[in-house]
């Protein structure tokens, strides 16, 4: 249950006349308002005493228009707040100027809170009374507050460049404070250091859509640009769950491989030894020289693969086998060829080998039936070598039915890894983009570690 809704009472707005332009300056913050800025001429007025005093003369500045007008009411944490003030602050970093908007929110019972907006990113900010304990985390300065560790993000001199409405402090254009930000997304702890005091405040990240809902705005707020310092990384929680699911799916894949390997026949259905002699002719081999067919063998079971294995005694030689697996009943043939070569020796680089004396090929999706092989070996017949080994090969021909094909499992494992890798990469680039804007510039492993606060 949330706390009861606290709605500001209907009050008569106190008004005064601007000593500079005579325009009406409304005061909604009761006696809490210390400074009011004329919305006509932007003269800063001291309203803390009945005799209104000019704190700062009319500002010669470019007028800024708040995205949410002054006087708009919105509901945060079950409390209705009214926007009574607006200021624009800026930080200059070498050549780049960063500007953000701050809205002063007021509720007579809850006091002042703030909305900070930077490029479509919003924070609902409340001042905190207790000072956080300063420490170190992953080599960076950190602050502990409310049991949460906030890692230092940046320190910058923030300058007020535009003000309008009411403020609970003596605001002036040109005022500069040192601002330190510590983050534990979606929270941000900020310290504003002036010569006299340090004011700590706690911000919570909100989306523009959430702010538009809170203020019941008729038009959508500008979409966010980039990654803000305390923007929660929604990909981070998905990374762990994606890897968990990936682990279980890989386990399922291993189990599937084990079960199917047990169910597969993986059995020799034909095995025979042969030899081949290719005498020197000085001309290429003719087509019909050495062709022969094997006895018929049965391929049982369901449609599955067939592996043809060739084990030869080739030694610094080559042989080619033109093969055809022919269905004895349907007269359909699968025609293929295998090159087998094995060379070895030694030279100035040491020992070397090339090729292998054995070879195998797996024929896909062979229906059951009675088959035979047509085999046509071929060797070098043009070489005039007198070595016996130059023209001879002994080989063993084996036909194996329903053999495991582990390529599928490796391919599936690779494809299973892609989605969690993509989720991890999105999370990684999100954090990298976040820390690029920090004092620590480039993204590092310590940055990753220190940004784990959004898991809290």
């Amino acid at each position: 249950m949330g706390s009861p809704l606290v709605t500001p009472p209907v009050v008569k707005v106190r008004a005064l006349f601007c000593p500079n332009c005579g325009g009406v300056v409304q005061l909604r913050g009761y006696a809490h308002t210390l400074t009011a800025v004329c919305t006509n001429c932007f003269t800063v007025l001291d309203t803390s005493t009945p005799a209104v005093r000019v704190l700062q003369a009319a500002q010669e500045q470019l007028r800024r228009q708040p995205t949410i007008p002054l006087g708009t009411r919105g509901k945060f944490q079950n409390t209705v707040f009214e926007i009574i003030g607006f200021q624009v602050c800026q930080v200059t970093d070498d050549t780049t100027i960063y500007e953000w908007n701050e809205y002063v929110l007021f509720n007579p019972y809850k006091g002042f809170h703030y909305l900070v907006e930077y490029q479509g990113h919003w924070n609902f900010v409340s001042t905190v009374k207790a000072s956080p304990a300063l420490t170190k985390s992953s080599g960076k300065p950190a602050a502990i507050f409310g049991g949460r560790v906030y890692v230092h993000f940046q320190t910058a001199a923030a300058k007020t460049v535009f003000v309008m409405g009411e403020f609970p402090w003596r605001v002036q254009v040109g005022e500069t404070v040192e601002d330190q930000d510590y983050i534990a997304p979606p929270y941000m702890l900020s310290a504003e250091n002036t010569a006299n005091e340090v004011v700590w405040s706690l911000g919570e990240y909100h989306t523009g859509a959430g702010i538009a809902r809170a203020f019941q705005l008729k038009t959508a707020l500008p979409p966010p640009i980039g990654v803000y310092e305390d923007q929660p990384n929604l990909h981070r929680a998905r990374v762990k769950s994606a890897w968990t699911l990936c682990f279980w799916m890989l386990m399922a894949l291993v189990s599937l491989a084990a079960v199917l390997s047990m169910l597969e026949l993986n059995r020799d259905v034909f095995d025979q030894k042969y030899s081949f002699h290719a005498p020197f002719t000085g001309a290429p081999a003719t087509p019909t020289d050495a062709a022969f067919v094997t006895p018929v063998f049965d391929l049982k079971g369901h449609t599955s693969n067939v592996q043809i294995q060739l084990r030869t005694d080739l030694d610094n030689n080559w042989a080619y086998f033109a093969l055809a697996l022919i269905n004895n009943d349907t007269s359909e043939a699968l025609d293929f060829g295998r090159e087998v070569s094995y060379y070895h020796g030694s030279d100035s680089d040491g020992r070397w080998t090339e090729g292998k004396p054995n070879d195998s090929v797996t024929l896909p999706s062979i229906p059951p039936g009675r088959y035979y092989l047509r085999v046509e070996p071929e060797m070098d017949t043009q070489s005039a070598s007198t070595s016996y080994r130059a023209h001879d090969v002994s080989y063993e021909l084996t036909v194996r039915r329903d053999v495991p094909n582990y390529v599928w499992y490796w391919l599936a494992a690779f494809l299973l890894l892609l989605p969690p890798l993509a989720v991890w990469y999105r999370s990684f680039t999100f954090e990298r983009q976040r820390w690029m804007d920090s004092d620590y510039g480039s993204f590092s492993s310590s940055s990753r570690a220190s940004s784990s606060g959004d898991d809290n």
Binding site: L245, A291, A324, L334
Partner: protein, 61 residues
């Protein structure tokens, strides 16, 4: 369930792998011929292999 699409994708992948393994799918390229004459058994040399008689050289280093 955080990843319904990934879960569906994974299960479909496992199903595909099981089907591929049981049906013996593969990547080996073979030339399929129909109506091979019955005389091949009596005269193997009469068969014209699609892969035979290309000039080739297998040499060592």
């Amino acid at each position: 369930m955080r990843h319904p699409i990934y879960l569906t994708y994974s299960l479909l992948l496992l199903l595909t792998v099981a089907t591929a393994e049981i049906r013996g799918w593969g990547f080996t390229h073979v030339n399929q011929l129909k109506n091979v004459p019955k005389t091949v058994r009596d005269n193997p040399g009469s068969y014209r292999s699609h892969y035979g008689f290309y000039p080739r050289y297998f040499g060592g280093k």
